[in-house]
Symmetry: D3
Subunit: 272 residues, 6 copies
């Protein structure tokens, strides 16, 4: 009986048993991106992995090794890709990664693959990769479905209100701000250096993208809003509520899918 | 003296004069996508082209030939790409188009290129194309900037309130709904068949994408909300307000850019 | 009952009915290319679209939205891609567009797709796109055929003789010359500025391509021969004769194909 | 002093001396393609290589190793790619080969690269490869030019008349016919099996391409016209006249180019 | 003062300081690959990361986030990619990752990038990515060098002899065998389940690759030789000797490089 | 009855008969690469072709036209790709060539394709091409297998000892050395200029790759070890022993495969 849901730590035989029992594969997708002077470069990876782990525990899933390099940081959501530390891949590479991982987990026998995104800029490229893979699988007659989501779409308005008390600056500037910092304080306090938070006004960014970016529009912290109000308790609240909402939504989706699987469609299982 | 801002109708010599005088190139980007039984397949192209024309008139620009095939329709924003009539390109093709057009207009001597998007799904792929092109131009020492926007990001809350009186169903289901239909009634009434509007409840879609899509989640109209309340006057209001907001924002951006151009950087101009 | 054959103006439901009745899809492919001081940049698009419309009317087809950006202008057929105004895509993008459109129209249920080319340089790249798509469709067991043609291959020698009276300079220098200008005078007189025609000798170009081009080999008009002898009546003659020849050839091809379709192969039709 | 112009047989040091003295590199491009029961599969390679060797001798050039796999055979020019024996590459591969070889020979120090084509279908893809490479080289400030040609464009009408006496069936059906067979009889008689020529009427092919091809439109010989009238003397005539025309045209082009080279632009030469 | 060399845990400001002081970036590259019933799927990642950390400590470097998905497992070195659990990317994706990471770290200001490989199959694809990036950087005039190595090339014959006492089965079957298991026992004993080692004879594989693979040639353990003789002390010996050899070789290389840097070439450093 | 096994010299009808009788296709893969002052640039092609011819004669196979441009020369195995004369393709092009040739020979009806490599650097890229093709063929239900090998892996230790008498410098520096030179002396003495051999010490290269290369690490001959001890008799021995070992191994593999072919799976054969 496995004591971990992390594919990284599982041996292949145990992994195969879990897939053989119908476990969905959950792929955390993050980025290596500057998050100001107080958060580590892999904040998006760590948060996506934490959400994925909670989800896997709720739905008897496996958490795949995370995708740790993401799409280029955009100024309006992550400060911009001109900043040192931010280390990004081109769109075609992200598309290829998402497409190939979907095909590989399908080859293993998984019938559901969930991409759980923690870096805004990745979303559409993951979508294309998953679209190409599921179309190909369908043409081959394989019944595999993929789910794609960003975890913050499962944060409800009540939680936002509880944490911000009316002062929510908006999702668009939530980069290195209160939400991410609170989650990190709860999950990885040893990696947060709260004393280095730069308490600056939220960024004022236009309603369009301009390239090359004007570097002066990104606050010198690299964060789009201040994390000064972050707290471990807000992080715990966010994690609990969001992972519960995720588990409810995805759990229902997976149950629907398994009802639709015809009796003869036992998961495939390739052994030596 | 040109009586049109449309590149399609201009001869090359007149076009060169306009670029030589510093005209930015505005590229309308749409899609060929089902918009229910009452709107034509090129609704997104026509709206992006109308907004682009207004903007070009305000900023002395040229409107490039529109990009008429866009990225795949997604169920949560356009009903899904499984629907007949919707005719879409892969991500890499959209990226290549945006990249190459930026490089081509730069070769002509344009110093600003604006991509004005009318199809939600295109945005990130246009971004990548523009990012690749502007990075390449910068490495070559060329001072060219690109702006990327979706026109609905310039619709203000007051206008929404005036039109919907509190009943705005949200941007996410505004596909083939009141806004697009009103704009089309104002701009191309001969292409709208209002008597065919299917007055169905707005679509209920999950907070995640699932592929392959469950076709039953898209209303049989193909529209995500009802266009029954559309009107020509709402369309006029939307067009006037939005194009004014666009002109203000982009006009300011272009002025800033031209201030930054050093005196010796006269636009290049290639003639036979 | 549709009063248009243009997919751009059709709503999705009407389009589906037409495809459901077996309508072939005809895709006009042009370019955005300088055509001298007297013709608009989209001459190739407009001519391909006019020929496609005539053909669609003759064979009960649908005209898809045109491909408006084509492959790079070559000096020996279009003056060269160094000229401002000419706005072109790379080969791989043209290939991808032709491949994907073929697959998309096949997905809609079309069993015949016709690419009607109006820009010489496109041809081989369209061929590759169509070849990749039809090979893929055949491997999937789908019976879809594609036809690829350039409209000038259907201009007969008699018509050439009637128009030129022995002075035909050859197809290779027919860029911005008598044929294109005459067709435009007949179809879009408001877009032709005949008084600006530069009456220069036909270009003298070698039997090989050389890159980078020597700009001095292209006449300063950008046209490879003079359009001074163009006339509306020659345009009418060309349009009538050529579209009749096209309708005869393609009509026969489509009838042959439909004879070959087995009874059970009713066109597929995807509705919500 | 080299006794060969073939790069294949040269050692690197001798090759470098030749490039250092300004030798242009001539790349024969052919195909592995069925040419009926009487000609070998590499007919196009052998003819392109023979023409290249003559040209190299005339202009003090080097003949690169030939490109032996070409673009897919098209039914209207080569019988079609469905035929066994014909072994072809995709367009993107041909493009990549032409682009990379141009860049590699430029890296060696060559200032002129000539692609001498012997397989109709290759031409546009070679063009794209050469266009990409020369554009890149120009942006890097390197003065390298490329020439692209098909050898039959240098066969003059008089020669055709002398050989065919009014019975020339047209270039479009000259696949495995009199011209190629005569050239092979002159150059490689041991590889021609004249007794196996199938004396069939020339193929009747439409003015458009249709995919998948109708196999019955290609004569069972695989040749588009009969080679029965081929002769060694016609081959000699063709080779002499055509290689002389080639040498005259390309020689002039190379002289022009070398006049344009500034004194300081001595060819680069990389040695260990 | 950083207490970690792991980029994952560093904030962007501290990372920039390290790069600003000339730190090379060391990228561990592994795979997600079955390693029998006794080792976790990320064995290659963990070993590459451990070697990279030791190397970074020795040369004042930074360890980048590891590449966790590698190239397809080959039967002769990893058992084959048909096995469930093994999760691999295509060659073009690995190439793109290596190319882009090199360019990104160069953008940050790093002048040396080291790819430290822990999965045999990756090597040539990493090479191509690094080759493309360094060529591009050189053309832009940037003095950045990359080093590429597999850690086992730094295991010396004496160590092999000490561990195996003449019974070394050869590197080609060292997949999931004594070396990897010993290293894991030393580094991550909690992830090794030694009681599950399958003590089977070493695989007998031909001197060629055959695809599709014959599954029966891979032992049912998925390991190519038995790990029964593995020990923590052998792992410690391997780690100490190999990381010392690595540090000596790479340290010398980096010193040479820094001698070659001209005085004005201070590392670039992009801050907000 | 064919008197040649070379596809280049075969006509299509004879080739089809050979494939129809079950002949495997053997593809020699080489490179155009400097091999010092005494060997021609196509040494790798010639050796791969000679080994392929011997193998084809032993197993009733066909030798395809060789792949004459290979992957970039690496300093540790071929001196480096900075050397003039060495003319190489990118990885993606080699992958595409291997993939497409496999698919083409499968289309012809071949059930076994053997890639016989003569240039170290090609191997992994050929592997990827073959892997993609055989996976695609398997998904289509086609029973085609591919074998990939480098001929030196079939040189046995006894032969090495006989030739070198204990002075074998190692495979890694066998570029332009005794083995290749001896084989060329036996096979193509007219292309070897033994008097130009530079008798230098073997190269001392590190255990890692470094890019850009340090040119001074490659001996000025371009060879990694001296060919002074080469002899025709050593070449004959090498050719005889190696081709016998190849024939034994591949012959057994092909027999196994043909046992596995079900009775109904007669090779496909496409004729006009």
């Amino acid at each position: 009986m496995p004591t971990t849901v992390l594919m990284e730590e599982l041996d292949a035989f145990t992994y195969r048993e879990m897939i053989g029992r119908g476990a969905p594969v959950i792929v955390p997708v993050g980025a290596t991106e500057q998050h100001g002077p107080h958060l580590p470069l892999q904040t998006d990876v760590l948060l996506a992995k934490a959400m994925s782990t909670r989800l896997a525990e709720a739905v008897d899933g496996v958490v795949a090794a995370p995708v740790v390099y993401g799409y280029k940081s955009q100024q309006r959501s992550g400060g911009g890709n001109h900043l040192a530390g931010t280390t990004s891949l081109d769109a075609t590479t992200i598309i290829a990664i998402a497409r190939t991982l979907t095909l590989e987990f399908a080859r293993h026998g998984a019938r559901q693959v969930v991409f759980l995104n923690g870096h805004f800029e990745n979303y559409q490229f993951l979508y294309e990769g998953v679209e190409l893979a599921t179309t190909e699988l369908k043409q081959r007659g394989e019944d595999v479905s993929a789910i794609l989501l960003s975890y913050w779409d499962f944060v409800d308005d009540e939680t936002i209100e509880e944490i911000y008390r009316g002062a929510f600056p908006g999702w668009d500037v939530e980069h290195g701000g209160v939400l991410e910092t609170s989650l990190m304080l709860h999950l990885h306090p040893e990696l947060v250096r709260l004393e280095r938070v730069m308490d600056l006004p939220a960024a004022q960014l236009p309603r369009y993208d301009r390239l090359p970016v004007r570097p002066e529009l990104t606050p010198i912290s690299g964060c789009l809003s201040s994390a000064a109000a972050a707290s471990e308790s807000a992080g715990r609240l966010l994690l609990d509520r969001t992972s519960a909402a995720l588990a409810a939504a995805i759990g229902a989706e997976l149950r629907t899918a398994s009802d639709l699987i015809p009796a003869h469609a036992t998961p495939r299982f390739t052994t030596p």
